[in-house]
Symmetry: C2
Subunit: 334 residues, 2 copies
DNA sequence: ATGAAAGCGCTAACAA
DNA sequence: TTGTTAGCGCTTTCAT
């Protein structure tokens, strides 16, 4: 494998000149450049990125830690972040944390090992009590709901407002007994905040808040959504609207309601949250909240790059909330 | 940031001893090890992976190039590969090629740059004429249908057999005019092979092969599936079975048929291919082919590791075909 | 069981 | 415009 010195020798110049050619530095005479390029082709030279990394103290790679990539939501997030990073000539290495606290901490320490120039961490397992551990001396951006006012840059959704808008939409469509399908709410996360938005909407509309209508599941995925929705019908809970805190749950719920023989939107109207690609194609097509995913990804990458490039560590931190819109489809009556 | 030499000084030993401790080498006295570990903790030492990479000539990272990660199929593939790689202490860096030939070639050259120890390339844009370019001196495993007998290790699906099984299943359920929704078939890829399987099944059953029943779309995604299925109904094509060459198309088709007022499975039975997570939760639940994704991912990673670890390049190449099963759900009558 | 020397391939800083 | 020097932080080899 040819090194920069082999090329230098072959072209009759110094290693530095070759390096300057490779990196498009200005001060190289045209003729010299040609000579070098020719030698590079002839020797089939390839830069050794590891050596460059060591020399520059940069890896050109950022880490992205998400619970799992095989979910409509996180795969979309990953896709958007990879694309945004690419625009800045950064590669993305993905780690799956399985939503566990330990794995999320491990991801944090990976970037301490300078494996990555920075880390975007979709924190689900870490809690507010771990805030101290985020006070690290390397670039980190947190995605999620767990660290408001924490010691890191933070990109979040307008959970409360958007959940309120979703619930209000159901109310406008005539629902009076609106259930919510949510994740666990013993911790502050998107479920908790979206539940708060749901409650606000009911209150503003003067609707009673029946605790039985608040249904929580352990994992917010399709399987749980399907099972719980079916049970809610079979137990005779009685509801005419259902707000699911994410689209995976909602996809499952649509399935569960169908199994239970409930017609959507005639008997029950359903709305989700996230606007994953699939939601448009379900039967019935799913109404949902569309946060501005691209803006969130772009902002997360930007914040991270800012940190990577700043010369001295600053102590201020930014919190970004994306905008959102309500996407009305068949599941709430089109 | 503390280096290995800082730790050595602090512990009163040589850098080499510290290195030996870090890498769990046997020849270190217990007392020495403790001393070193203590110093490491005290100085908050972290290995510099870039330096280690340069020294060892390995990066501990493999590349995975897929068309896009935001699709049920590829996100599942990515998830499985990341998990398999993790078991072997390898990280995975993901690149999105957008199915373009140029990006796929770029991914190949990335790994030539020793950014990755090896590359798993889900080839969609590259064609058989590019086979020569795969003759590279670094580890590559191709996922897909385009390079049978090529100069690389290759993991593929049993496309023909599985497509035949899918079509036969529709025939067994009483379908007589079975349409196929496929990608372009001017090149050898999964669409072509699955179309061949479809034809075989018709032939074996003695059913006529009406060319009008072969429908091809440019992109095999949900949007195209929905639009085309609707048009097929509206144009009065007349069909009682539909085999979609992947689940994304099938999800779209279910949506399109619903829009056109066609009941599944009563009027038309539908089967897909891939068994993505979503298919189980659709309404109606989607019958499909389930290739052994885990086995494919595991095999791809294994083949790659074998190449990475072999001392001298061998010229033989392995072709692996996964097993498959037909998953029968509501869309073909349960 | 430990250490000294040399080098992985590149680039920043300075010199010519 | 080009070249020289001196590392980046680690590991391999060989001595002790």
């Amino acid at each position: 494998m040819a090194t920069i010195r082999d090329v230098a020798k072959a072209a009759g110049v110094s290693a530095m000149t070759v390096s300057n050619v490779i990196n498009d530095h200005p001060n190289v005479r045209r003729a010299t450049r040609e000579k070098v390029l020719e030698a590079m082709t002839r020797l089939d030279y390839r830069v050794n990125v590891a050596a460059r990394n060591l020399s520059k103290g940069r890896t050109g790679t950022i880490g992205l830690a998400v619970p799992q990539v095989n979910s409509p939501y996180y795969s979309r997030l990953a896709a958007t972040i990879i694309t945004a990073a690419e625009r800045h000539n950064l590669r993305v290495s993905i780690e799956q944390t399985g939503a566990s606290r330990d794995s999320e901490l491990a991801a944090l320490s990976m970037s301490r090992n300078r494996l990555y120039d920075g880390l975007i961490l979709s924190a689900v397992g870490l809690g507010p009590t771990d805030a101290e551990r985020l006070k690290v001396d390397h670039p980190v951006v947190i995605l999620g709901e767990r660290f408001f006012g924490g010691p890191v840059d933070h990109v979040a959704m307008p959970n409360v407002e958007a959940a309120e808008a979703a619930t209000s939409h159901l109310i406008e469509r005539g629902c009076r007994r609106i259930a919510i399908l949510s994740g666990r709410v013993d911790i502050v996360d998107s479920s908790t905040l979206r539940l708060a938005g749901y409650r606000q909407a009911l209150e503003k509309a003067g609707l009673p808040a029946d605790p039985a209508l608040v249904q929580t599941v352990d994992r917010t995925d399709m399987a749980e959504g399907a099972e719980r929705a079916r049970k809610m019908v079979e137990s005779g809970l009685g509801f005419d609207g259902l707000f699911c805190v994410n689209d995976s749950l909602a996809m499952g719920a649509l399935r569960g309601l169908a199994s239970a023989g409930v017609r959507v939107p005639d008997q029950v109207k359903v709305i989700g949250f996230d606007n994953v690609k699939e939601s448009e194609f379900l039967v019935p097509a799913l109404s949902t909240i569309d946060p501005d995913h691209d803006a969130m990804a772009e902002r997360a990458v930007h914040l991270l790059i800012r940190r990577i490039e700043e010369t001295e560590p600053s102590t201020d931190h930014e919190e970004f909330f994306s905008s959102f819109s309500v996407v009305i489809r068949e599941s709430t009556g089109g």
